[in-house]
């Protein structure tokens, strides 16, 4: 077996491990939530974590499955993964997303500071939730948009 095929097999094993862990964690979250519903905790967060892990595992399997028995395809997938232009594009996207994330976090921090001394209104629970969701989502959107843009430009 070539080094490239071994590398693909390793990625597939990782995918299966994530998928299995995700299913176990999600099932555990659902079971605990139904058996211990009287406890004042929201166990959906455990189920959500399980779904996230399973999703990561599934994405690994989808990405590397077609290359598992084809040496040439394994080599191609490996080259695409380590492709220097793609690494540059991802690094640039990450850099842009980082600055956007920093800007949003700093804005939130400043708002909280000004709200504490009465200069700005306090953020309600819902508004805070939407702000935090935006602080996660907006840098992610910037990251994806930057990758798409640079793939066309570089």
């Amino acid at each position: 077996m070539s080094n490239y095929s071994q590398w693909v097999q390793q990625k597939l094993r990782l995918g299966w491990a994530f998928l299995a862990a995700g299913v176990i964690v999600a099932a555990a979250g659902a079971w605990i939530g139904s058996e211990f519903a009287y406890l004042p905790y929201n166990f959906r967060i455990i189920t959500g974590l399980g779904i996230l892990l399973a999703g990561v595992g599934f994405s690994f399997l989808v990405r590397y499955w077609h290359a598992r028995k084809n040496g040439a395809e394994a080599r191609r997938v490996s080259a695409a993964e380590r492709d220097e232009r793609m690494l540059l594009i991802r690094a640039r996207a990450g850099n842009r997303a980082f600055w956007v994330s920093l800007g949003l976090t700093y804005t939130g921090l400043m708002w909280a500071s000004f709200a504490a001394n009465g200069s700005l209104p306090e953020l309600s629970g819902d508004t805070l939730w939407f702000f935090l969701a935006g602080a996660v989502l907006i840098p992610f959107i910037v990251y994806i948009a930057s990758i798409v843009r640079d793939q066309n430009r570089l």
């Binding site: 040439a72 191609r76 695409a80 492709d83 793609m86």
Partner: protein
């Protein structure tokens, strides 16, 4: 940066994918290199130089004016 990749690749009858496989990059990178949109790392430049058996300066055509526009 301008280069002679497309010309040299065509002379050898290779497809973009075949060239990409030989220097272990994606086909998109070869397309970008040939269009002059992307400048390779020194390692990739050396790999291409060895593959085509010619000095880097003959493969990639450096011009200071172009650098000022980047």
């Amino acid at each position: 940066m301008k280069n002679r990749l497309e010309e040299l690749r065509s002379q050898r009858g290779w497809t973009q994918q075949e060239l990409a496989d030989q220097v272990e990059v994606s086909r998109q990178t070869i397309i970008s290199l040939e269009n002059g949109r992307y400048n390779p790392s020194i390692l990739l430049a050396f790999r291409l130089s060895r593959l085509f058996e010619m000095p880097i300066e003959d493969l990639f055509l450096y011009s200071p004016e172009e650098e000022n526009h980047e």
